[in-house]
Symmetry: C2
Subunit: 352 residues, 2 copies
């Protein structure tokens, strides 16, 4: 048993590589190698160093490491809010994927505020993030400019606009809502209301509304002003909006909602008003959040795999960090989930 020096130079302060080196009677270079290129050091010495490190609870300090290595091993995620399960799922999946590769995730929520988003990104760049994932592409130009100035890889998630200059992992919002509108049209609806999030400063939402309008236009139809309700995506706004829309003339036979939260509100309120869904009113959502399939009737919506989006975004960024130049990724396609809230108008749900 070698005389392992037990001296701890500055008690009460976290140990440093020199301390471990002294304890193990090697140089700091060897300590560093043990942790970064273990195969390059003799097994006996390696054990000694490992033992010393464990004994004093040492682990390489990230700041020093980042400086020397010129790599922070940190990536940032910039999302609107964690209060929407859609973004929470994306972040969760990204975090898991990065953790596997020893990369930690910095999180920031900009609350749908573009200035906040710019600020958040800058703060992350200052923190030396090696890559960035950002929800949506409707951001101030300086946001992307400052990222590009740093030459670090980034992805836009939850959106995949054809022709976008950014790498993106998501789906075509316009196409998705075109699909859903077409579904209702094919069922025979001609008077369709829309309850949707604020379109201002939100590319994804604007694209959705655009998709609906395009689908209607193809049949010579349109969304009447009194049938369009724009507001925060909340169950409550969904509730008050159906109520408002059902009070207009002509009364729509179907309502397309910008996301499932709005649709859940619409469905619950319609039922509370004594309407039968889908006989009296068809309702569609988007995202397929957890509650949607549970309701009665279960919500017709489009399913988006947000864990998959998060994982893909992480994989893309990881590949970039490995020095690869990954090809542009094909868009995901949300799938229409025909459940119980959309049917042909003016007909009983199904004949007995």
């Amino acid at each position: 048993m070698p005389p392992m020096s037990e001296r701890e130079p500055k008690p009460g302060r976290p140990p440093r590589a020199v301390d471990v080196a002294a304890a193990a009677e090697v140089s700091t270079a060897t300590v560093s190698r043990v942790f970064n290129n273990p195969e390059k050091v003799a097994p006996a010495i390696r054990e000694r160093v490992l033992a010393a490190a464990k004994a004093m609870g040492w682990m390489p300090h990230a700041a020093g490491s980042a400086l020397a290595r010129r790599r922070s091993s940190i990536v940032g995620a910039v999302i609107p809010t964690l209060d929407n399960e859609v973004f929470a799922a994306q972040v969760g999946a990204m975090q898991a994927a990065f953790a596997e590769r020893g990369i930690t995730l910095l999180l920031s929520c900009f609350n749908y505020n573009q200035d906040q988003a710019v600020h958040d990104v800058q703060a992350m760049l200052a923190r030396g993030v090696e890559a960035l994932a950002i929800v949506g592409e409707a951001h101030r130009p300086e946001l992307f400019a400052s990222i590009q100035a740093r030459h670090i890889p980034y992805v836009v998630t939850y959106s995949h606009r054809p022709g976008s200059p950014h790498a993106c992992v998501g789906f075509d919002n316009r196409q998705a809502f075109h699909t859903i509108a077409r579904h209702l049209l094919d069922l025979g609806h001609e008077t369709i209301g829309v309850i949707i999030q604020p379109t201002a400063g939100n590319d994804r939402v604007a694209a959705r509304l655009d998709g609906v309008r395009a689908a209607l236009a193809e049949r010579g139809l349109g969304v009447r002003p009194q049938h369009l309700r724009e507001g925060e995506w909340s169950i409550d706004f969904g509730r008050q909006s159906v109520r408002a829309i059902l009070a207009t003339d002509p009364v729509p036979t179907a309502v397309i909602c910008g996301n499932d939260y709005l649709a859940v509100g619409a469905l619950l309120e319609a039922r509370a008003m004594g309407l039968s869904v889908p006989r009296d009113l068809s309702i569609t959502g988007f995202d397929d959040i957890a509650i949607s399939r549970q309701l009665d009737p279960p919500l017709t919506t489009m399913h988006v795999d947000n864990h998959e989006i998060g994982r893909r975004a992480a994989d893309y960024l990881l590949a970039c960090l490995e020095g690869e130049r990954p090809a542009a990724m094909p868009p995901l396609v949300p799938t229409l989930i025909r459940r119980g809230t959309a049917a042909a108008p003016d007909l009983p749900a199904r004949p007995a």
Copy 2:
């Protein structure tokens, strides 16, 4: 207009303080001061430095800064998962509170895996987090040991066990479920089922079950084995559990659920089975998640303000970082929300 040197020493590489200093014709010390103690530098020079910095897009690099300052300005949050809106809310609130003070949040989800939690905490310590917030206190001893070895402040959230050695911001889970059980007992229920998350390795859940048992014991009652269902907190598990419990003998007149997800499942399934809630079966939840108040009937549950928990946890840690030694915080008290799913047994909801 002074001859501002436009040379950018190493093109393609992020600028450093020396570059800014050269451009502004000052020393790096002054550059640093401009960004950290602006009042200590002459206005004219300050402007010059600011202009130069903005021109070349410089901002202090966090790793170097952390090293010199011996402060990382990073804190970590360790939670089970973002898929539960309860934890997502806590994280969101913490992130916002920290951001105001220029502190960034590192996130880690351990998925109810204790080994993962230990690993995550160690990784965060290596990253030099200055403080840590951790959900729950049922963790391996080495988790807390390694934090304490670093002498950094930490809080346990979402739990407040009397006598806990940790600073905690949360509520007394045992007390809360005692309250809810008592509520049902006072309504006249004597046969009560329980649908709850796995108690193994989860202090919060174990305390909840304990609270229920204690309340029943005070009336000489108990939870029959066939009336206790333990499993993942999901709407689906809630559904299958009521179904199973209702098939037992004697049939409970009420079911206490470990959280709202389970309760939502129980409620929806009971209704799907043709039961009238609360006439045929009373159901209670816990957490008061967003959907709970929206259902029909709205769920009787206990409200926990998770944004508040997150904010308080952040404030506590912030105070510690300021060098204060904040007093132990009183527990939050979840409030019983009497809505529509709990009533006296064997009676119509209310006489007309």
